[in-house]
Each structure stands twice: as structure tokens, then as C-alpha cells.
């Protein structure tokens, strides 16, 4: 089933529409997909994210989530129930001083009965591996842990889509790994549709599909491998290759007979193979 559909969507932050943050974007995301949206600062990727759950509504064109039009205010609540969103700053998302109260916030808003909320908190904290922190204070947690709590807060609403708007950008490498592991698990084990907005190319490699945005437009759309094998095109959009892919390309250019590799593991394997041959 189609989870998200953009039809010729334009969005402008300016009244006179002299500049579009999102310019004539058409795309569709299937339920259960793991899509990474790449782009440099100002490419319109965050605007795209906010258009999905009706935090913004298109200036022209149409966005629909499971067939519901985001421009229809009567549908806003239903859309937000099915499309949850985690933001960039881990400090600015929690509403309560205690973890379980914060996770309860979403279910409370949609009117879940009390006993059921307790179960959902268990479920959500387990899903992000934070079950031991139920009574902790978010302010004492690390950035990665705070983001996992923010994800749990979204999971507790039981959405079908999870949008992560640069949710790893402010984290250290450890926190980034924690969050990515949780997101991948949600996608694999619960079939959650994931839309991951990022400027870390390594993270895009974990997705099934990558979309590159540039100046408000979708300029590339395909598997991460497909996209990273077009390094020249990426360069024009001011994006770099994942480090391993970059080294691989340099080695190839220097005359080493190795195949394509995108992750460190793949690269190591390719190098070993070529050494054994030689």
C-alpha cells in the first residue's frame, strides 16, 4: 500500500512565492519502505519532512498519507496518528521531567485509556532498549538516549510511518549508532515505514532507497548503491561519497583491481579478495 504520495508539491516560506523550498516534487513511498532523503543544508529536505505530517501544508500540489489529504484540516489528527516525527535537537522534544510521563504524552493526546497507556510505555521503551530508564529524568541522559526516548514517544502512538528529521545530526558517533540501530530494527521487525532525513551518507547506506534533494527538487532516486556509484553527479549537489566508497574509488583510480564497495566491511572484503588473487 502507498504510505506517502507527493503530487507536484510546491512549498514557499515567502508570501510572494518568489522562492520555493520544495519545488514541484512528485514521489511516492510504499508501506514498509526505508527511505533516506539526502541533501545539503537548504536543499528542502526538512521542509519535505514537515509536509508529510501536516506541520506544513503545500502552497500548491497535494500531499497524501494513506490516502488522506494533508491540506484537509479535518484529517490532520488522523495523519499525525499514522505519521510520527522525531526532530533534530534531543533537548527540545520532551515535555515532561520523567521518561515515562514523556512517553505517555502522545497516547494521552489521542485519548488512549489509562491501563493501555502503561502497556504502550512498556512496549515503546522496550523497542528502543530504554526499559531500565522508565523513571529517569531526560535531562540526565545522553543525547543518544534522549533521542531514543523521543522515538519511544512516537512509537507509543503506534504510527505506521516514522519520519526522522536529521535526528542524528546533533549526536556523537555512539549516539548516532544507537539511534540508527533502533530505527533499522523498527523497520525490519515491525514493518514500520521509515523516512530518514540526513546528511550523513553512511546512514543512507542502511536504507533500501535514497532520494537526493537539491534546491527544492528531487534530483536522484534509487538504491543507495545506485546513487553512490554516480559520484560526479553527487559532487554537483555538494554531497560526498561515504568514506569507504570514496577510498574504494581512489584505489580503483590508482589501479587496484577491486570491485565496488560502499561500507567499510565490503571494502575490506574487496581488498582481501584482490590481495589473495595477486
Amino acid at each position: 500500500m502507498e504510505a506517502v504520495r507527493f503530487e507536484h508539491v510546491k512549498y514557499s516560506y515567502r508570501e510572494d512565492e518568489s522562492e520555493y523550498a520544495v519545488n514541484d516534487v512528485s514521489l511516492s513511498v510504499e508501506e514498509g519502505e526505508f527511505v533516506a532523503i539526502l541533501g545539503r543544508n537548504g536543499s528542502g529536505k526538512s521542509t519535505l519532512a514537515k509536509l508529510i505530517n501536516a506541520l506544513l501544508t503545500p502552497t500548491s500540489g497535494k500531499v497524501s498519507v494513506f490516502g488522506l489529504d494533508t491540506s484537509d484540516e479535518k484529517q490532520t489528527f488522523a495523519i499525525r496518528k499514522s505519521a510520527g516525527m522525531v526532530f533534530q535537537n534531543p533537548d527540545n522534544q520532551a515535555v515532561a521531567s520523567i521518561v515515562e510521563d514523556d512517553v505517555a504524552f502522545g497516547p494521552e493526546n489521542i485519548g488512549v485509556p489509562r491501563e493501555e497507556i502503561g502497556k504502550r510505555i512498556d512496549f515503546a521503551l522496550n523497542a528502543v532498549g530504554m526499559q531500565d530508564f522508565r523513571n529517569a529524568m531526560p535531562s540526565r541522559l545522553s543525547g543518544g538516549q534522549k533521542q531514543r526516548i523521543a522515538i519511544a514517544g512516537v512509537i507509543a502512538i503506534l504510527p505506521k510511518i516514522m519520519i526522522l528529521d536529521e535526528s542524528t545530526a546533533m549526536l556523537d558517533p555512539q549516539g548516532r549508532r544507537e539511534v540508527m540501530a533502533v530505527v533499522k530494527k523498527l523497520n525490519r521487525e515491525q514493518g514500520m515505514t521509515v523516512i530518514l532525513i540526513t546528511h550523513f551518507m553512511e546512514e543512507a547506506l542502511q536504507a533500501e532507497r535514497a532520494i537526493v534533494m537539491h534546491r527544492g527538487e528531487v534530483v536522484m532516486d534509487g538504491t543507495p548503491e545506485h546513487i553512490f556509484s554516480h559520484s560526479d553527479a553527487l559532487e554537483t549537489y555538494n554531497l560526498t561519497l561515504p568514506r569507504a566508497a570514496y577510498i574504494c574509488k581512489k584505489l580503483q583510480a590508482a589501479g587496484m583491481p577491486i570491485g565496488e564497495a560502499f561500507t567499510a566491511e565490503e571494502l575490506a572484503e574487496e581488498i582481501c579478495k584482490s590481495l589473495q588473487k595477486g
Partner: protein, 283 residues
């Protein structure tokens, strides 16, 4: 400059007082105030003091910790005490001790001063037992629940309570932020430690502006995050945590009822606060 997140003064423990329902504790506090103001003589205040000591004992908060809260308003107690001592203008039965210019010190004004200072002291001690044994979050929940009837006259009780709890939640975040800004300004040569009060206050301006700007940005982010989590006001909202009254609250109620009854009896039996003067002065 600003220390850890020990905002409020909650003292964690698992005592009888800690486990009372926050709503009950707030109402008990009001009952306690009534008792303090109802007491007409020193015997009444002594009874309240005994009750207070009992409450401190039951709360398992070290007595020194409770006493520390008085330190903060010691100045106020002394100030009002001096005013009372010098400018008491009630009826005098006995000859004044000192009469000079507009100042009069009399037996009555001494009694009055001791009595009022004692009262103020008891009130501060009592209030601090409430804040020492109740987390700010529980207090907010309690206030929200108690004010619920006001919803019928269109007071936005839920919204106000949410604002209060969000404010509490952001205190540690904003303290961190302040420390960061102070460090950044110091690194650029700002001086917060020397100079008079005025100069130091002025040095805080470059800290306050970035802090306010960042707080507004955080508010924006939080608004988005709340909307994304389906927040739309109190409409159709459920609540996860429910406050429940237990036998402890009932027992507490009995204690406070006994206190007030005792005060009333002492008032009838021993009369007003100045009657003690008859005892010392004769007549």
C-alpha cells in the same frame, strides 16, 4: 556559577509524608495555616510546634534541612520583628518600657513581636516540609487536580498545569545553556566576578540576550514536537497518572482535625496572647 539541577528542594525518601497524595498535602498545608492563624495564645503555638516536630519526624527529613529554609527569610522575620517591637500601636495595659520620639517599646509590643515571629517561623517550616517531601511534578499534578472545578468557569486549568510542568522540565536545560553562554563570554574576556553590583548586573546582559533568543527557538521546536505527537489541547485527552487517596491521607486528615480541635480548645481555655502578662506582672 549555577550548579547542578537541584531545583526546588525535594529531599528523596520513602516516608509516610512523602507518600501522602499531593492533593491531600496541599489541603493539609492550608489546614496547617488555619491552625497557625487560629491560635490566639502561646499554648496554641506550642501545640503547633509539637505537631510540626512530629511531622518532621514522620517525613524522615533531617531537622537541619527543614531549618535551612528559615535562613532564607530570617531577614524578613527580623525586619517585621523590629517594626512590631518599635511601632506596636495596640491598647496598652501596662506602662511602656521606653517611649522616645515616635517609638514605643512596651510589654505588649514584646509579646506581639515574639508571637508574630514565632508564627512566621512556623509557617515557613510547614511550607518547607511540603516542598521537601513533594516533587515539583507531583505538586503540579496536585494543583491541577485541585483546580479542576475551575474548568467549569472556563479557566484553562490543563493548559496552565502543562505550562508549569514544561517550565519545570526546561529548568535544567536552560541552566546548562546559561553555563555554556557564560563560558563562551568568559572565553572572549567578559568579566562576571569583579566590580560592584551594578557592574556585575550589566555583565549579565550579554548572557541574557542569547539565552532568551535560544529559549524562544526551543519553544518553537517544542511546539512542533508537541503537535507532531498529536497535541491539540485538553480535548479528548486521557491522563496516564491518576492520583489515588490511601489510608495515609485519611490518617493525615485525622491528625489535622485533631490539631485544629486542640487549638480551639486551647484558645478557649487560655484566652488571648496578652493574658500571659497577667501571670508575670500580677494583677
Amino acid at each position: 556559577m549555577l550548579n547542578d539541577v537541584t531545583f526546588g528542594q525535594y529531599y528523596p525518601a520513602k516516608s509516610f509524608v512523602h507518600r501522602l497524595d499531593p492533593r491531600a498535602k496541599i489541603l493539609f498545608m492550608i489546614a496547617y495555616f488555619v491552625a497557625v492563624f487560629l491560635a490566639k495564645n502561646f499554648f496554641g503555638l506550642a501545640a503547633v510546634t509539637l505537631f510540626l516536630l512530629f511531622a518532621v519526624f514522620m517525613s524522615r527529613v533531617p531537622f537541619g534541612r527543614v531549618l535551612r529554609s528559615v535562613k532564607m527569610i530570617l531577614f524578613l522575620i527580623i525586619f517585621t520583628g523590629i517594626l512590631n517591637l518599635l511601632f506596636y500601636s495596640g491598647e496598652l495595659t501596662y506602662e511602656p518600657l521606653v517611649q522616645w520620639w515616635i517609638v514605643t517599646i512596651s510589654y505588649e509590643s514584646i509579646v506581639q513581636t515574639v508571637f508574630l515571629s514565632f508564627r512566621l517561623f512556623l509557617i515557613v517550616m510547614g511550607t518547607s516540609i511540603l516542598t521537601l517531601t513533594t516533587t515539583p511534578v507531583a505538586l503540579t499534578d496536585g494543583i491541577e487536580s485541585l483546580l479542576k472545578p475551575l474548568m467549569y468557569i472556563k479557566v484553562p486549568v490543563h493548559e496552565v498545569a502543562l505550562i508549569m510542568s514544561i517550565a519545570l522540565r526546561f529548568i535544567p536545560t536552560l541552566i546548562d545553556e546559561t553555563n555554556r553562554i557564560v563560558a563562551a563570554q568568559k572565553a572572549r574576556g567578559a568579566d562576571f566576578e569583579t566590580g560592584g553590583l551594578f557592574k556585575r548586573a550589566k555583565a549579565m546582559i550579554p548572557v541574557l540576550f542569547p539565552l532568551i533568543v535560544s529559549a524562544l527557538r526551543r519553544a518553537d521546536d517544542l511546539g512542533d514536537a508537541m503537535e507532531a505527537r498529536c497535541y491539540r489541547g485538553s480535548k479528548g485527552r486521557t491522563k496516564y497518572k491518576k492520583l489515588v487517596l490511601t489510608w495515609r491521607d485519611l490518617l493525615g486528615l485525622l491528625f489535622f482535625a485533631a490539631l485544629i480541635a486542640g487549638i480551639v480548645l486551647l484558645n478557649i481555655y487560655f484566652g488571648g496572647k496578652f493574658d500571659i502578662l497577667h501571670y508575670f506582672m500580677g494583677g
